[in-house]
Symmetry: C2
Subunit: 292 residues, 2 copies
């Protein structure tokens, strides 16, 4: 989705889960009135400690969260249903809360004015420091953006719409690529992997953002789990750039960069399954056009 | 409903019939940013010529209409279903149209900025002329407001929540009043009437806003229609202040002032039914407290 107009419509259309949520969210967006600032509504987040929740409004460029009244915390059951969702980590600053239940309309407006002023100040700071990246839907998921930048990083919220685009960012131009993994063309014994990092039909997979540990087991167990573990241990590819397959809040599939991982040979066994440790949150990019 | 906060929420909640409607309406409201300006979303209107339509946004204080793309014109069937709705007349100025289908988000913003500037200028003009009545939900349907003003008028969009309140505005304080008509306590041979001015189960009623003519026939015909006509002709009350029973866009019943009417003795007969002609759009008010 490369069009801000369509993106904005779809985001705003989701803001109806709480009383006044649509009113508050649209007021913030319209008063900020800046098409270079991206926003996401109904963003799934992981709170510190691992609790999952749903934030009403999220500004990824400044990692700023807004909640209308209390943030909705997901029960285990809800979180289970949403395990393929594109969760972002809420680190550092607490979300800004806007109380609408016990306050007058004038107080709500004053509180929103505060929040808007704070968001504008944070953006201005980034602009003054030349660290602000204006929102550009055509660029943010284009591999050339990241090739020009020289690297992808977890901090930059890198995601691609299709695995082909992720591969291109590392110099691999396979037009019809559709597998869950590829061999890195420029780095030795390195793969590019597009796993579901959550419990799914075939795989008991998990990813702990805090420790940076991925675990993967074959649900069938027995021979299959044995093969899974042995294949990884015998495979010369012990290093992987990992893009997790997620669904964003609009229901679109994306491949979200999670970092560079190395196989944990000591801990990988039948009981633990295959274990990967994150060794870097940044990966070098390569131009796929020069490799032709 | 005397609370702006609740009112605004309910109005905004209705803006989802068209793509971008909620986005456009909330942008206009938030950029105007003035709680003294009342707005109505999804307002039923009668266009010049009698065609009925649904306007996306209406500012009653300046009689200003906004449509997002084309205004939705009601088919006869739709209009039939909505015959108890609180239609307002769209006279003079055409509605302001905001094209969202063929324009970029920047063009939509520019167009909205124009509309907002125009609305602000119209309000400012009223303020400069001391003709601006700030929106006050607690006052607008309170009979004391109109008693202090000295009159009610069609132009001022007068409506009451209950018939008791309408009666109070003419000096009649019956706590439990619930009939469709009352005798005016201060003006001779005058009644206060609260009819359904649309075709309903018992009555073939109609009101033509342009000519100011009300027609009323008993659907049962025969003896009942004969009695209906004869009762009116023999009744000394030949003059009526008329408040039409309507449902506003939030589904709340209201009694909307339509003017002062006199029985058209010449045209009232079995075939035509009872005919009333509007003789004034203004009626004097009386304090119900002083009559005790």
């Amino acid at each position: 989705m490369f069009d801000k107009k369509e993106y904005i419509k779809r985001q705003i259309a989701k803001t109806n889960k709480k009383d006044y949520e649509n009113y508050v969210v649209t007021r913030i967006i319209h008063l900020i009135d800046d098409l270079e600032i991206k926003f996401v509504t109904q963003q799934y987040v992981k709170r510190p400690g691992g609790k999952r929740a749903l934030a009403d409004l999220y500004f990824p460029q400044i990692h700023y969260f807004v909640e209308v009244d209390e943030m909705q915390h997901l029960s285990n059951e809800d979180a289970d249903k949403k395990r393929d969702a594109d969760f972002v980590s809420m680190v550092g600053k607490e979300p800004e809360r806007i109380d609408v239940a016990t306050t007058s309309i004038e107080e709500i407006h004053n509180r929103i004015d505060q929040v808007v002023a704070e968001i504008k100040a944070l953006i201005q700071k980034e602009r003054d420091n030349n660290t602000f990246e204006p929102w550009d839907p055509a660029k943010e998921m284009n591999p050339l953006t990241w090739i020009e930048k020289g690297h992808v990083s977890v901090k930059d919220n890198v995601a691609f719409r299709i695995t082909v685009d992720a591969c291109k960012a590392f110099g691999l131009d396979y037009l019809g690529f559709q597998q869950a993994q590829a061999k890195h063309p420029h780095e030795e014994n390195t793969g590019i992997w597009f796993p579901k990092l959550y419990d799914n039909k075939e795989w008991a997979n998990s990813f702990d953002e805090t420790t940076g540990v991925i675990r993967s087991s074959c649900k069938k167990g027995g021979e299959q789990q044995k093969n899974h573990v042995e294949n990884r241990l015998s495979d010369p590819i012990k290093r992987r750039l990992i893009f997790a397959r997620v669904k964003d809040n609009l229901g679109d599939v994306k491949y979200r960069f999670r970092g560079v991982f190395e196989l944990d040979i000591e801990n990988t066994n039948y009981e633990n399954g295959v274990v990967w440790n994150r060794v870097s949150e940044v990966a070098k990019t390569y131009d796929y056009r020069s490799s032709n």
